[in-house]
Amino acid sequence: MRRPGKARAGVAESLRLLAQGRDLRGRATVPRSAQEWEEEPERGRFPTAWARTPVAGAVRYGLQRGLLKPTAWSVCAPDVRGLERLEGLRGPVVFVANHASHLDTPLILGSLPPRFARRIAVGAAADYFFDTPWRAVLTALAINGFPVERKGSGRLRSLAPQLVAERWSLLLFPEGTRSEDGWMKRVRAGSAHLCCGFGIPAVPIAVRGSYAAMPRGRGWPVPGRPRVSVRYGDPLYPEAGENAWDFNSRLSTAVARLWNEEDIGWYAALREPRDAAVARPAGPPAAGSWRRSWEAGRPLPKSRP
């Protein structure tokens, strides 16, 4: 029988040829003369469906309650308030929280009642958490993360509507990224759109002290078991005919009130007249940047005022 090519190369030979000019992950450096024509690689959506299967869910719940929560609860001292406001609430729900630290997610997931914790997916930055396969796998498995484009390139259609349709609750950080100075940034309207579109409630959450405990750039909380607080607010329901922008401003006001509760107490926060300022705890305005992070980095008092 005739075979094409006399020197029939085996798989080993093919592998050797393939490996030349490529790194261990199989990526080739673009030849100099081709660099002009280099293309921003089109990011494929990392498949996460497997992480939402019952088996992966069981593994994840075990991880969260057996490892993540004990660890988080041992390295800092969480102070969880307002869980009673979730009584009688049924999923799917969109939890909306401010975001200042990698601690936020374990704190919220660890403090949620099991009925939510067992069926919640977390929006995670596609360009960070789904950049490399191993991080993507960990994110998907440990916190049921799904990729969210934050650069607004819109190339990937968000998975969020599909997840809501499949009756998953979501935990979203609508600032889009962890705060750089500990204060809140503008709350984007994505989660509000989702709630209005599906007519589902949003639960505002404010996490305080996580910036002081583990700001950007730290891989582990500061020593001394710093206090962090997690406050759940009343579920907000989009009203009939309410548009996403209006709902979003209600939502961000609710988060801001929760934020202020830590400093001035519930009632005072509720009575706070300066709605506009309250809407976004943006910190000392126009001051030097050092003062902003300085204030934000002030550890919470060991007990609630």
């Binding site: 075979r3 040829l17 080739a28 024509w37």
Partner: protein, 525 residues
Amino acid sequence: MGRPGFVLEVDERTPALLVNEGEAARLERFPLGTRVIYPPDSLPGIRDVGGAIRQALLHPHGEDPLPALLRPGMRLTIVFDDISLPLPQMRAPDMRQRIIEQVLEMAAAAGVDDVELLAANALHRRMTAAELKRTVGDRVFRSFFPGHLNNHDAEDRANLTEVGTTRHGEVVEINRRAAESDLIVYVNITLTGMSGGAKSVAVGLASYRSLRHHHNVHTLRHSRSFNDPPQSAMHHSYDRMAAVLAGHVRVFTVESTVNGDSYPPQVGFMNKREWEWSPADQASYLAFRKLNAMAPAKMRRQMWQRSHAPYGITGVHAGAPAEVHPHTLANVHRQQLTEIDGQSDIGVWGLPFICPYNVNSIMNPILVMSLGLGYFFNLYRNKPIVRQGGVGIFYHPMPEEFHPVHHPSYIDFYESVLSRTKDPALIEEKYEEQFATDPWYTHLYRTSHAYHGVHPLYMWYWGAHALQHLGDVIFVGAERGTASRLGFRTASTLGDALEMARETVGSSPSITYHHSPPLALADVR
């Protein structure tokens, strides 16, 4: 998306590059400094192909809208390109089917009863019923086959008619039914610059008497290249013939062009630049290599022949042939044209499993020659990518295999003619008449599915320009006996081939690899 073609210069970081070699493909390390021609990225296909066809038929170039040309009682002949286009075959539904269906809708609406469909196969083998069905679609096939859907028969004297003679004395003789029609609608798919335009009717429906005026050694040696019609003596002859035809019969042509998606997604790496291969591409390359090597020869051939291309359509234009064709050529150039500075001492080509004449068949050694020294060598504008007297290196295993039904005269040409001479001019002089008039070949062409007796000689002429231009031809990985029958040398590796080429081009030659797939038309400056 939409990056233009470019010339890669192989540097230290360049990975091994894909090279086709018949029913296989390999990775090859090229010497530093080798220039590699990559065509533009595959263009996006038209989304609404049906709409584009309708638009083309209703707003033609230099013609009345098709419905205005149709009337009850007229003789309408729909002629379409045969199985030699596109390559590899197109995934169903075939573009020809989609065009013909719309043309027939309009003809039906106009009440045209006398409609004939003809495959423009010239001296190619007759298409089988299954092939016709695949090309025109089930609905058309059932309505017209076998009475009114046929292959053109270039040896049916009763059904040929001499339309006239060009000012160069070229006899224009085509299918009688087509010539005597009130309207010919020609349905074309253009893959490279040589197809379509004047060629369609003047060649596709012609007889040997007419074809020999342009299918000969002299014309082919002066077609530089035949993929660049303005510089092609062959196309000048087509144009003269088309002009004669235009005075006798009205031709409404519908031309379409395809993009570069010539392989199915399972072997997506074929259409990608190697340094952009994802791990999945690399894994599929490995799997492909292994499976391809393990498969028994017959199964391997079937796998290749059945890999139908998911082409996108880059344009549909209709109207008067002379006015339509520039648009078609522009589309081809948009997909294939790549500029390169200057010629090299050595040109390298990897030859694929398919050429126009082995669809559902076997690529025999003569076809390998015509594919390499004919089609691929001539994929240039201005001048060849290799300098005069340079060396051509081709990849193909070149097994001594022939399809006994499709290529009977090829076997005799290989055994009895090439064993005596390889000189195209001498072959033309001494053997063409014998092969062209041998009654057995003619019989097989007309009743079986054989290429015309003279066809292997045409294939040899196809490479005449390259044979004259190249100082040496080396086939990598070819069977030695076969290659030497064709007058070529063989090398087992690229390294050996380059070593052999030194004898001709010196010790530090410049090298250009004409990368394929996809096809690139090199614009050599």
